[in-house]
């Protein structure tokens, strides 16, 4: 976790040179996580499928504008996906539906969803579950769903200052949890094995 060596470097180079196989590799490695973020925003598989397709084409077209020095590939990929989904949500028709959704349904959705899914990385989920629910909420809203801090404060009905401090505590805790964790190492090895067996 503490390395600065970019684990995606060869994938990035291949992608920038126009090699399709790199795109397949990206979908393989990050597709489910990106799809998960889009789904959290639009709450519909039908819409999320279309948006994932749109976002992938944007990624393919714009990969040259990604600069490794400005951060990890995944951060950039997530930003493209999040923005694609947010643009969709901001269209008039969608907005009416989105606004009627309460946070409760957001939370219950994500909970029931993680139960219904067969994620191979249950070890990873277990580790993340150690992060208090209130911290997961702010990270879900801001990092995965692209809320502003003010929007998150409104949605969670907590003061803006609390949102700000929760973000910092959440990331600090997350780093501490993930920093040196045997369960996580196990989870990573398991997912590697699964990929190899595939």
């Amino acid at each position: 976790m503490s390395t600065t060596i970019n684990p995606d470097l060869s994938m990035i180079r291949q992608l920038k040179s126009g090699d399709h196989r790199a795109m397949a590799a990206i979908l393989d490695k990050y597709g489910d996580a990106l799809y998960g973020a889009i789904y959290q925003i639009v709450k519909s598989d039908d819409i999320a499928k279309d948006l994932m397709q749109d976002a992938s084409i944007k990624i393919w077209h714009n990969i040259k504008s990604y600069d490794e020095q400005k951060g990890r590939l995944f951060t950039w990929l997530l930003r493209v996906c999040r923005n694609t989904a947010i643009d969709k949500v901001r269209t008039g028709k969608f907005k009416a539906i989105a606004q009627s959704k309460t946070l409760e349904s957001t939370v219950s959705n994500s909970v029931s969803h993680s139960e219904e899914m067969n994620i191979p990385d249950s070890g990873l989920q277990q580790v993340i579950q150690r992060l208090d629910e209130k911290y997961q909420q702010v990270i879900n809203l801001i990092y995965l769903q692209g809320f502003t801090q003010a929007e998150a404060a409104k949605e969670l009905d907590i003061p803006l200052g609390t949102v700000k401090s929760r973000i910092k505590i959440a990331i600090r805790e997350l780093r501490a949890i993930l920093g040196d964790n045997p369960l996580l190492i196990l989870a990573v090895i398991t997912s590697l094995l699964i990929v190899l067996i595939k």
Partner: protein, 276 residues
């Protein structure tokens, strides 16, 4: 630059979360190139968040990945298909140069006319295409500006709502102001909790406490049965803020704690306190 301070300010976290402005981003990106330590820190934040995102993954519906790859393959092959048609269209012209003199000249002229005409039409088509592209860019720009404007309005709406909320608190007799008086640490200061037992709501105004050092934060506590309960970080810049309503609180107090707060108060750093 004091890198430690820069990292502690939380700006890198905000950058990863997309909460920083374009101007901030430019500055941050310059710093990232300049200071490898910052990049290392950034990557660690990103990796932690990426792992979080992985834990919230949802399997893509079956066939979606193949569908995406298919459309990318289609996109990549389109330009070559176009260039093929343009070369094949040029072929028939070569066979027309044969024939008798008059017919040849006539056909030659007709061909020249047709070529000229098609050139003219083609230029017009290109112009129209260029104009279309320009108006599409303009449309996109207008759309972006509209979105920015909409966001701006929403933000202003938020500010108005907050101000309205504050006025309502001051005018509502159900809000009882509880004065928290300065200790020896900060004599002549006062913070106020606006306590509404009827609607179970509380607000807090930190007012005139001295500015906290950059590595510390003020933290608000409710004292319930002699035990302090954490009510979160309170910043000078926030003005009047909504806080948790703790109905059975006997007193409220503010202490100066390490950045982002502590689970239990440091009573040596008690700044203001007041009984309910």
């Amino acid at each position: 630059m004091d890198l430690k301070k820069y990292i502690e300010s939380g700006i890198l976290e905000d950058y990863v979360l997309g909460l920083t402005s374009d101007t901030d981003n430019k500055e941050i990106e310059q710093n990232l190139v300049k200071y490898p330590k910052l990049q290392k820190e950034l990557n660690q934040i990103e990796d932690a968040l990426a792992t979080y995102a992985q834990s919230k993954a949802r399997p893509m519906p079956e066939g979606l990945s193949a569908q995406i790859m298919q459309s990318i393959d289609d996109l990549a092959t389109q330009p070559t298909a176009q260039s093929d048609t343009s070369t094949s269209a040029a072929k028939p012209q070569a066979t027309l140069s044969k024939g008798t003199n008059t017919l040849g000249i006539f056909l030659g002229l007709a061909l020249a006319g047709a070529l000229l005409g098609s050139y003219f039409l083609n230029t017009q088509k290109q112009d129209a295409q260029q104009q279309l592209a320009v108006s599409q860019t303009e449309k996109q720009e207008l759309n972006d500006r509209f979105l920015a404007f909409q966001l701006d309005c929403e933000e202003k709406d938020g500010t108005i709502l907050r101000l309205q909320e504050q006025i309502d608190i001051f005018r509502n007799p159900d809000y009882r102001p509880i004065s928290l008086k300065g200790t020896d640490k900060a004599p002549n200061t006062e913070s106020i909790v606006y306590f509404n037992a009827k609607e179970n709501k509380s607000y807090f105004d930190i007012r005139n406490l001295p500015t906290a050092p950059s590595d510390k934060d003020y933290q608000l506590w409710a004292i319930v049965g002699g035990v302090p309960t954490d009510m979160g970080i309170v910043n000078l810049s926030n003005g009047l803020v909504k806080v948790d309503h703790i109905g059975d609180a006997q007193a409220f107090a503010v202490t100066l704690e390490a950045r982002d707060g502590n689970p239990a108060p440091n009573l040596d750093e008690l700044y203001v306190i007041g009984n309910v």
